[in-house]
Amino acid sequence: MMELSLQHVIEELTLLRFETALIVGSLVLLTAGMLSKDEVTYKVLFSITLLISLFLADVRDIGTSTSGAISIDSLSGILKILFAFISLWIVFFHSTFRRYEHYFLLLSIVLGSSLMLSANHLLLFYIAIELTSLSSYLITGFSFSRKGYEAAIKYLLFGGVSSAIMIYGISILYGLSGSMLISDMVINVQAGPFYHVGMICLLGGLFFKVGLVPYHFWVPSTYQEAPTDAVAILSIVPKIAGFALLHRVLISFELLSDPIYRQVIAVLGIATVLMGTFGALRQDNIKRMIAYGAIAHSGLVLPTLLIQGEQGGLAFVWYVTIYAIMTMAIFMIASMYEDFGIKDVKDMKGIGIQFPVMGALTLLILVAQIGLPPTAGFTAKFYLFSSIWNEYQASGATIILIYLIVGLLSVVLALFYYLKIPFHSFLGTAESPYFGNFSIISRSVVTIFTIMVLWIFLSPEFLNKIAFNINFIGW
């Protein structure tokens, strides 16, 4: 019995190579934090852990552990690589002094999200989500400002309520099906009304993580107040993991075949897109505006889950990768402008004229966020809209068509609020010239990102090749 379990433990650990590397790395970082004080070592250690885990994550290894708690498919493999790749760039953020706890928490967020990808047992679900949420609450508080604490407490209370609802949902489902493993819960559960209650409460937890409409209230204030590099990770890694987990739940419980669930999700998605776009129209604070933009983006990713077959999976991976790159770039730019003390759009007057290169880079990234041709943003949205159009053609459901129209409308409205920044920076006239300059490192990193964004538009084959060798299990 013992060696059996030992052997099965080793097998599970081998499956979670990526996570173990992260845990070991963060522990090393923790100890190093005690010993030395300068930030460079933290950054070096942080990037080493991520690099190691990047190597360990492999797209091809697909499998579920004997106890069934962990099941990894190629999608989670891809997303793990994406998480590691994206979080690597955090070290280049030019910001105030960050102690080791900051990097430790960032690593824990990445760990929590990657666990969410591979969880197949409802308990592991809950623990992974709790881990990510707790570390997010803490890191929001790390801005050590009055508003930072306020945002943190609100985020915590809101998150606490939704995770409580989720665990209650899990308990109901457990009551109905008698087991916690998703694979065999499906078999022996009778789809009574109470089952739907449990399912909705469970989905509630996921919607919170992804930031869909009823659960989106925390997004604007958290993104505004949390330290910018933390927000960069917060807005990408847990959100994408949440989507992957949501998809796993929808697929394994065969909810997508049930028309009511499709309608509920579509309605929530449309509401999110509208909320995000219309909300952003009135914002002055840059980060808060980007937060609303992020809400709109998550509203736009949702329909890919509804699309059956390979097309949906492809569109999901496409949109998510490009969204990650764009959001990382825009937050890096926001943090660079923050060094100039620029928080609101209004006080960006005339900076574009004084620093034309930076102005041009900001413009390109914003154009990508809107989704205009020369950038990858357009390819992502184009791909998304054509797959939605396909889905509409196949299923003929009017809700999908409304989704398409709302999507197109969001592009137009996105123009209104995203264009405020270049409008003020180029067309405004600065009262007093801005002293100082952007740091070389961050400028070169932003250029790298812009080149990436443009290159994906010009030759998208390589991304398609990667997206394609994920064989989607019944996406």
Partner: protein, 103 residues
């Protein structure tokens, strides 16, 4: 021994605790009350889990409820740490007055 009391009894009980928790969160003004509410909701879930784990050979429910308790503790710890900081800056603990983050 337990057949005398049907499962719906316990489900009703956990449901009552859950809804009471929700009511507390919405009605009361202080952040601590919200924490209390969350604890109650978690306990309702625990009650369900423990009750149903009787009939589950693998005792998953029991294990989960242990973990839930541990996590609840962690969460309260963090909540209080943040509340301390807020208290130092704002001198209030009532979330209604925390309105500096306008929409």
């Amino acid at each position: 021994m337990m057949e005398a009391i049907s499962p719906t009894y316990f489900v009703f009980l956990s449901l009552f605790i859950f809804c009471a928790g929700i009511a507390i969160i919405i009605i009361k003004r202080s952040a601590i009350f919200v924490l209390i509410g969350i604890e109650l909701m978690l306990n309702a879930a625990n009650l369900n889990l423990v009750y149903f784990s009787q009939y589950d050979p693998g005792m998953n429910g029991l294990m989960t409820s242990v973990f839930v308790v541990v996590l609840a503790a962690a969460e309260v710890a963090i909540a209080l740490a943040i509340l301390l900081n807020i208290f130092k800056h704002y001198k209030i603990t009532d979330p209604d007055e925390l309105t500096s983050l306008k929409n």
